[in-house]
């Protein structure tokens, strides 16, 4: 990376870093894991910076791949499947529903019940506001798959006790 490329890279990260970290958090369901994924994604981006035409799309695709890889690694080591169990399952309505730290455990636990593909589609579609076509492109699936997976995933989230309560809280605002 030469000096000019480094500057362009830095300004890309300054602009998109927070969003990327947040997407990573939703994809991994774990803030610490998310930071690792975020860092790994930026490292891969930095190595290919000169040749990547669309860094935004590149990062989203790479993040999804890393999460899938991690998921596979975890499946090979079932003892680590307990990762999501540590979440505080207090009734989210007890605290300030506006506080991110209060919401996060319940939301991430609920997202954690989805498959990585479902999660990626929900996050890219509704958090990152990508169109169905863009999501299909990024993940290499058909638009039909994006549609059906998204609606199944949302229905599944609705069934989660923790998230159901949060959605009910949001209804009153």
């Amino acid at each position: 990376m030469d000096k000019k490329q480094a500057r362009a890279f830095e300004s890309f990260v300054a602009e998109s870093g927070d969003l990327l970290l947040r997407i990573a958090t939703l994809l991994t369901c774990d803030v610490h894991l998310a930071e690792d994924v975020y860092q790994e994604t930026l490292q891969r981006l930095a190595r290919r910076w000169a040749r990547v035409e669309n860094p935004r799309a590149f990062c989203r695709r790479v993040m999804h791949n890393i999460v899938i890889d991690q998921q596979r690694a975890r499946q090979r080591r079932p003892s680590e499947l307990e990762l999501y169990a540590g979440y505080d399952s207090r009734d989210p309505r007890a605290g300030d529903p506006l506080a991110a730290v209060e919401l996060r455990p319940s939301l991430l636990a609920a997202l954690g019940t989805l498959s990585p593909q479902q999660r990626a589609i929900v996050v890219l579609r509704y958090f990152d506001d990508r169109s169905e076509g863009e999501v299909a492109d990024l993940l290499g699936v058909s638009v039909g798959t994006v549609k059906s997976t998204a609606s199944r995933a949302v229905a599944r989230l609705r069934e989660q006790p923790g998230l159901g309560a949060l959605l009910a809280t949001s209804d009153t605002h």
Binding site: W49, N54, L157
Partner: protein, 330 residues
């Protein structure tokens, strides 16, 4: 109006992650590492062209000189340091002599095919100006087959200027390494300074953007904000009305009604900084606030930008009851 599940989910995801911020140390670390790698690659360019010829000759030399095992730097505690070193030196001197006897490359272009990991790569160098092209024929979808880096390698003229006696070459290499290290440090320092400057700039912008509320503005808005709380004492309530009475710009309508039609005394004031009118509807017996309201007036269209509609937000207290035990939420 009920929002869709998707809207609620979107809102939840944003709220649940809105406090997360990427650490700039991560970016700095990655950039520094990439810059270092870049410089190392450039420096390697020096040995690549020279060594390419030497390696071919050297390989032949080893093949003919029999089965001498390759000498490696020895571990501490190993028992054969001197002999191994001498053998290594002899091999290297041999290589040096062979390399010196090889003919110098005279063409302008170099092409190298490589296997980097499992990826095939072809690199072409224009030795006249240092331009480097890299091709990745079997790269994945979305990666262009041709990658181009301007002035990525030292030019033939620069390489020709490098010293060729061992002692001055050593001095040259050491100095080059130190300079590159220093340059990296200076760049990092400049980054830190730039960030400090950016921060100072941001501070100035924020200070300039802050509305300049006067003491009168603060007195009214704070008094109005304190009044709504049923827990305030009659003495405090009484004093708050005195404070409001002494604040310029307050408008009082003794025969107003709140949005539920209840008789009320409306106390309002326009805040010219915040650009909205804040109103408190106090019960006529001065025991409680019936409603608070803020009204942003409509703004006209200007400079080709659409205007904004008037916006009013009411908070109407329907009932206020006290109890000795904790009341239920319903």
């Amino acid at each position: 109006m009920p929002a869709t599940d998707e809207d609620l989910l979107r809102d939840l995801m944003h709220r649940a992650t809105g406090d997360l911020h990427a650490r700039s140390e991560i970016t700095n670390g990655i950039v520094t590492a990439s810059r270092r790698r870049h410089r190392r690659t450039r420096a390697l360019g020096i040995s690549v062209t020279g060594a390419a010829a030497a390696a071919a000759v050297g390989a032949a030399a080893v093949a003919t000189s029999g089965s001498a095992p390759a000498a490696r730097p020895t571990q501490p505690g190993s028992t054969t340091p001197t002999i191994a070193l001498t053998a290594a030196q002899r091999t290297l001197k041999h290589l040096s002599a062979k390399a010196a006897a090889a003919s110098a490359p005279s063409d302008r272009w170099v092409k190298m095919t490589e296997l980097a990991g499992s990826q095939h790569k072809t690199t072409i160098i224009d030795t006249r100006n240092g331009d480097v092209w890299t091709y990745q024929p079997d790269a994945g979808k979305g990666v262009p087959a041709e990658l181009f880096s301007k002035a990525g390698a030292p030019t033939a003229a620069q390489l020709a200027a490098d010293p060729t006696t061992a002692s001055s070459l050593r001095t040259f290499l050491v100095r080059q390494g130190k300079q590159q290290q220093m340059q990296a440090e200076q760049e990092m320092l400049a980054q830190v300074q730039k960030q400090a400057k950016r921060l100072a700039h941001l501070k100035r912008i924020m200070a300039a953007a802050q509305p300049k509320e006067t003491s009168d503005d603060w007195a009214f808005s704070q008094a109005a904000m304190t009044l709504w709380n049923p827990a305030i004492s009659p003495a405090l309530r009484s004093a708050l009305f005195k404070v409001i009475a002494a604040t310029p710009g307050v408008v009082v309508n003794a025969h107003a009604r709140d949005s539920l039609g209840r008789p009320a005394i409306e106390i309002s004031r326009y805040d010219p900084q915040a650009k909205y009118t804040e109103a408190v509807f106090e019960a006529p017996d001065a025991t409680r606030v019936l409603e608070t309201s803020s009204l942003e007036p409509a703004t006209p269209a200007r400079d080709g930008l659409p205007g904004e509609q008037a916006y009013q937000l009411n908070d109407t207290y329907q009932s206020i009851t006290w109890s000795a035990t904790r009341p239920s939420a319903r």
